[in-house]
């Protein structure tokens, strides 16, 4: 039986494809909307980025490529043997530009984010009261419309923040793409998993 790999349909897809091809591994050639595709010795699942760790934690996929930001947010119990080096970004706190951001002056700071768990932990660990407004997207507009005092979101270049009159306040976490492996697969399918890890490691150098 071939190994099953869970990949994100989102921003890590291009980097994952380039890496697999560089490693000499098969990769599906534009199969349209099919979400489960076999290619060579591997079977690929294309899922939402936040779902990649779930597929791997349950062992539905043996391995996957997920951002560290997503791993921190989901808290999935998976192995992380490789930092693949691409998809670098940061999860930051951002607030309206030109205005002082002082969460210590308020009993509760309202934070809009896709990263509900990371955002809450970031404030609570500092002894700051927080109310997290969980959003699925377009987080950048939340402060301007009065939904939240600040946002916790991912930035690559910072352009989206600037376009929405937001300024970065502090970093919550640094992220890059990681190869993740199911705990049982790591042992029960050791030879295949280690072969894949070795190929991807060489290709990601």
């Amino acid at each position: 039986m071939s190994l099953t790999i869970a990949l994100s349909k989102g921003k890590l897809l291009a980097g994952s494809e380039a890496l697999f091809r560089r490693a000499g591994l098969a990769f599906p050639n534009g199969e349209g909307r099919k979400l489960v595709v076999a290619a060579g010795e591997l079977r690929f699942l294309f899922v939402k980025d936040m779902d990649v760790p779930t597929y791997v934690e349950y062992g539905v996929a043996d391995c996957g490529v997920a951002g560290k930001d997503v791993l921190l947010e989901t808290g999935a119990d998976v192995l992380e043997p490789l930092d693949l080096g691409f998809g670098r970004c940061r999860v930051v706190v951002a607030s309206p530009a030109g205005r002082a951001f002082a969460p210590d002056r308020a009993a509760t700071t309202r934070v809009a984010s896709k990263y509900a768990k990371l955002a809450a932990a970031h404030f609570l660990e500092r002894g700051l009261g927080v109310e997290v407004v969980r959003l699925a997207g377009s987080v950048e507009i939340a402060t301007g419309l009065g939904l939240a005092d600040c946002i916790v979101d991912v930035v690559e270049t910072g352009r989206t923040l600037a376009e929405n009159d937001l300024a970065e306040v502090e970093t919550v976490a640094e992220s890059s793409a990681r190869l993740i492996v199911n705990r049982a697969s790591f042992h029960a399918r050791r030879a295949e998993v280690q072969g894949l890890v070795a190929k991807l490691q060489d290709a990601s150098r």
Binding site: V56, E57, G59, E80, P81, A184, H187, R189, R190
Partner: protein
Amino acid sequence: MTARLTQVPPGAQCFVGEEARLRRGIEETVVSVFEGWDYEEIIPPLFDYAEVFAGEALASKTYSFVARDGSLLALRPDFTSLLAKIAAGRLRERAAPLRLYYSGEVVRYEPVRAGRQSELYQMGLEHLGGDARAADAEAVAIAAECLERLGARGFVLALGHVGVFGGLVDAAGLAPERVEALRERVESKDPAGVRQVLQGAGVSSALAEAFERLTTLGGGLEALPQAAQAFSCCAGAGAALAELRAVADALGAAGLGRHLAVDLGEVRGLDYYTGLVFRVFAPDLGFEVGSGGRYDTLVARFGRPLPAVGFMLGLDRVALLLERQGRLAAIPRPAVEAIAATQLGAGLKDAVARRVRGARVRFGSGGDR
């Protein structure tokens, strides 16, 4: 009628008919293996004082409640603490070694996720006192026999020893916060994360490299001599590896080598385990089937210093694994004999008579299920 009367609380489990029979079958097989190795059953109480379960890992997961006299009680979140208490208390006069087993439910506040439920059925044993290496090897061999007899395919017993990590930590003299961050990264086999945690910790480059090797070293038994070389800078880690090797060699000699793997990044429950640790994995199930290890300090909490080793298999997980591997054969039963109750006395007399002959009867109304 309120929703509560029909709704199931998250994490609660209920098994009906065939499902329940298959679970009983698994339990009988496992218990017969425990009995076969001369272990004695203990049926411990469902609840005890909350203090009994005060280990760090379980405290936050324990269902506790206040008794009428004001004492804090808890539903058992595991069996090991209870068996330790019994070994040190009621069985205190009994000479070591004690070989005890259990099979039953525990309850935990646990989000339902990846094979975790609030209600778990555990089958396990504890070997208290006696020759430590022999007990370690025996525990792993018994776990293997259970899976073998259940018909599980391709299972792997991944062996580790917390003293390898512990030895390196002692040699490095790390601050406790950093140890926890490091443990968590080693547990995830994340070499990049290990490097990051050790940045600015003032650890020698040899030790930093050794910590990183913990995440990559592992696999077959050939990893043990490799590890001995990689960790030669640290006597504590070397001693732990020698213990692990003695156990692995014994298991190999017993013909169990094909089921063994080495996992030196197995560093869960450091406040609890003191030596050998192992987890059971199998293809077709993404999470472990069971786990165990040596805990030499727990029983002393209850007033009897007694080193010990134990393991448990999760019945729910074993059942799921066997089902996925197509190994869960229906248990054969005699065909049912239906007896009408139109003539109540004569009918019942007939049913009782057939029961004496051992028939499976259905008295009165009701069709096939």
